[in-house]
Structures are given as structure tokens and as C-alpha cells.
Symmetry: C2
Subunit: 254 residues, 2 copies
């Protein structure tokens, strides 16, 4: 076991949804001070190479290996930035690093570890749409990689019936095309068919597309894994080209 | 009615939770291009005065007046930034601007209006705590200024029973001290007394304080209006000085 170096650190940093103007100064400064960048291939590609900086790009679904590697390097004195898209604490790398920390040697607890927030995809999407999350809302990952689908159904129903607006990460993949169709069914039932749903693809990128329809007109193929999906509550409405949820709510949730 | 000027615009911009290093470049650039800044007094104070920039600071609870004023100025050709703390789409000014737009003259619909996201308080707080929002979560405003308290109780119970982590904005005020005590009761009942709750006061400011306890040990005076409160789910745990919610979840929500 290598004794932790006082000079090494791990920072889990959010790069925002894609547009470089949405990266915070705090994250820029930390990347400038790093010796090593660790992350999923497309996020590491966003980091400009320079002398003294080693880029470690890895494939999807190896989050724990990547996190362990980052901690190992920090323990030898490296200054490591784990890059996430969006915000690292929202369905991204921060939890994976703490899982690796928990599974690792005890002296890793003395390492300098920090999390730097970023603009998460749902808030970037909401800003492009208007203000669909302007009242109480829930953020749900629709992927069943790490939880049973039945739990996702329970949460969709609970949030819809209680009148939360909702934002969905990873709404649809090729390996489970039927699930998003089922999610739309539950939402129509829990929220009513007139509730607005927005599909925001490639948010803040040049290829961005926004599409808003009533839930009764929503179809599964409106979403893919590059789409953030936002469902309003029963008060959510369109004004001009915008969709927003008013700040006030009445008594009824149905 | 004044015809909209093609040169005027309104941007609703998020300044993040307080630390200037968390402001995005997009927001900085937009403030540099503005002729007028509109907002609540403490947020307008964060903008550096300069020639050609007029600061319009107003008191709390006049959000609609402020939004209408911003749209009026844009219609006369001004370049107006409405500043919010955190993210403008999360319990902040974006919805108020769209409410004012809906209530205003029809030609305001032609105005150039944009929303620029910012780091919202719950994600800044989560980053300081570790990753307590690392799984599905709900964001709830505990103020009953704009909704009945009964609806807040319904949402707390629904989110807790469905196993969402939760972030609370405006958890407690002097005018309604008993309500947060009631919220804690509901949370203990819905989430179990061992679930972790974190109180993050003055997040990212020099005066920042973080305090995490089990729900059964939480007391109302641990929060005030400058505190973000984050409740984990039943899997949320402490590792070293951090609190995090694992990425995976089992079947049970109780």
C-alpha cells in the first residue's frame, strides 16, 4: 500500500452539457493545475492536450475502474481531474469515486478529494425550453442498468401523482426500446394527457433540437440517449416559443 | 404600446450560489454586453458597476414587477439582464419573466428572450457534501408563499416513500417556524430515522457550514433561510468526511 502524498489530489469536475462557455472558471483553473485527466472518451476529448498533462480516456460502463485508477494516481502524488459531463453529482462520476473510496485502502480517506459542480443537462435543457422546472420537480434516471425497472415505474407514478415536474436522464436506449413507451403510458395516466413534455436533443450543441408536445401525442422515438426529456406539471404552459411552469400551485394534484 | 426594438433583449441569468468562480463565461459575457441589470438587492450587488450600465435593485417578493420592468426596458431597446442566484429556472426569476410575458402586450412575444443556466444551490451544496444526490432525487421549495402547505406535505411523503433523495429550498423562515418541524416528522416517517440529512449553510461562501446527522437526530433549528437541506435515500452513507448516495438501488423502497 502506498502512503498518500500530501501533494496529490482528486477533483471530480463537471464540464457542463457541451458548450465550452458553460464551464465554470473553477473547473477551468483546476484542469490547468492537473497532471492527469480521467474520464469517458467523449468527455476527455473536450480537454486540450498540453505538456505535463496525461489524458486517460476509458470506455463507458467502467466507472468504478476509472474511479479507482484516479484515487491510485492521487495516492502517488498526481493531481487528477475526473471529468464528467454536466454535473458530477447527477448520474455521473462523483458517486462512483466515493464507491471506489469506500472499497479501497483506509489511507485513501486522507486524500484531498473535492467535487466541483457543473451545469447539469436538465438545467441547460430547461433554460433552452423556457422554465419547465420552475416549480417542484424530480430528476429520474430511466436506465435500468443499476436499478430494477419496477422501481422506475414506482417513482414515475409517485412523482406524477404528487404533481412534480420531471426531468429524465438516459430516457431510451437501443437495448430497451419498449421501456420508454411504458414510461409514457404511466406518465399519461399519472399526469394527464394534456401535460406538456419536451424533448431536448444535443442541448447547447450546434445540433440542438427542441420539441414540445402534449403527453397524449408523445411517442417513444421522440427520445434517444442524447435527449433530455422534461415533463411539466398540470400548470405548465406554452407562451410564444417558450414552455414554463408557474411559480404558484393550487391545492389539487389531480 | 411601444413596438419592440430588434436591438433590445432580456436575458435571465444564473449567478450561481455566491462564489464568483462558479459563474459561467456565458453569463459573464452577457453581463458585459448589458445596459441594465435587474434583480433582488443582494444579487445586483454582485455586479460590478461600470459606465453605461444601470443597476435596478429591488426588494424581495416583487418578482412580477421586476420581470415586467425588464420586459418594458427591452421593448425600448435596452439590453437587460435579470440576475438570479443559482439557476434562474429553479425557484428563481425565469418563471416570473414568463408569467409577466404572458400577462403583457402581445408584441412582447417578438422580444429576444433567453435563459442562461447557473449552478443551482442544491448542486453546489451536494458537491460540498460529497454526492448525496447521486441517484434519483426531488427538488422541493418548502416555502408556502405560492402553494398550500398541504401540497408540500403530500410531496414530501410521496418522494420519501418512493425512495427519492431530496433537496429543499427555503426550508425555514421566522414567519413559519413550526412547518420545518412538521417536515422533519414526515421525513422520519417516510424515509426512516436512520436516513442521513445534511444542512449546508452559506454554500461556497467563506462562512460555509456543513452538518450531517441521521433524521432521528435532526432538529428544526439546524436550518434557516440561508440553508440548503439535502436528505438522502436509505442507501445514502458516510465515507470519511463525505456523504454519498450509491448509483445502484435495490427493489425495495421501504
Amino acid at each position: 500500500m502506498i502512503a498518500p502524498s500530501k501533494n496529490g489530489w482528486v477533483v471530480i469536475a463537471g464540464l457542463g452539457p457541451g458548450n465550452e462557455a458553460l464551464v465554470t472558471q473553477e473547473v477551468r483553473d483546476t484542469i490547468d493545475a492537473a497532471t492527469d485527466i480521467v474520464g469517458y472518451i467523449p468527455y476527455v476529448k473536450r480537454i486540450a492536450p498540453r505538456d505535463g498533462l496525461t489524458l486517460h480516456a476509458s470506455d463507458n460502463r467502467v466507472e468504478l475502474d476509472r474511479a479507482t485508477h484516479a484515487l491510485e494516481m492521487a495516492a502517488t502524488g498526481k493531481r487528477v481531474v475526473v471529468v464528467s459531463s454536466g454535473d458530477p453529482g447527477v448520474f455521473a462520476m462523483a458517486s462512483a469515486v466515493f464507491e471506489a473510496l469506500e472499497a479501497g485502502p483506509k489511507d485513501w480517506l486522507d486524500l484531498d478529494i473535492r467535487v466541483l459542480p457543473g451545469i447539469t443537462a436538465m438545467l441547460a435543457a430547461a433554460a433552452q425550453i423556457g422554465a419547465p422546472l420552475g416549480h417542484d420537480f424530480a430528476a429520474i434516471n430511466l436506465s435500468d442498468n443499476l436499478k430494477p425497472w419496477s422501481l422506475i415505474e414506482t417513482r414515475l407514478r409517485a412523482a406524477g401523482e404528487a404533481g412534480f415536474a420531471m426531468a429524465f436522464y438516459n430516457p431510451r436506449s437501443k437495448s430497451r426500446p419498449h421501456q420508454f413507451a411504458r414510461a409514457l403510458e404511466i406518465l399519461r395516466d399519472a399526469c394527464g394527457g394534456d401535460t406538456l413534455i419536451s424533448f431536448a436533443r444535443d442541448v447547447t450543441k450546434p445540433t440542438q433540437q427542441i420539441n414540445t408536445v402534449a403527453l397524449k401525442h408523445a411517442t417513444p422515438e421522440m427520445a434517444d440517449m442524447r435527449t433530455m426529456v422534461i415533463v411539466g406539471n398540470r400548470d405548465t404552459r406554452a407562451i410564444g416559443r417558450f414552455v414554463y411552469t408557474p411559480r404558484s400551485a393550487g391545492d389539487a394534484t389531480s
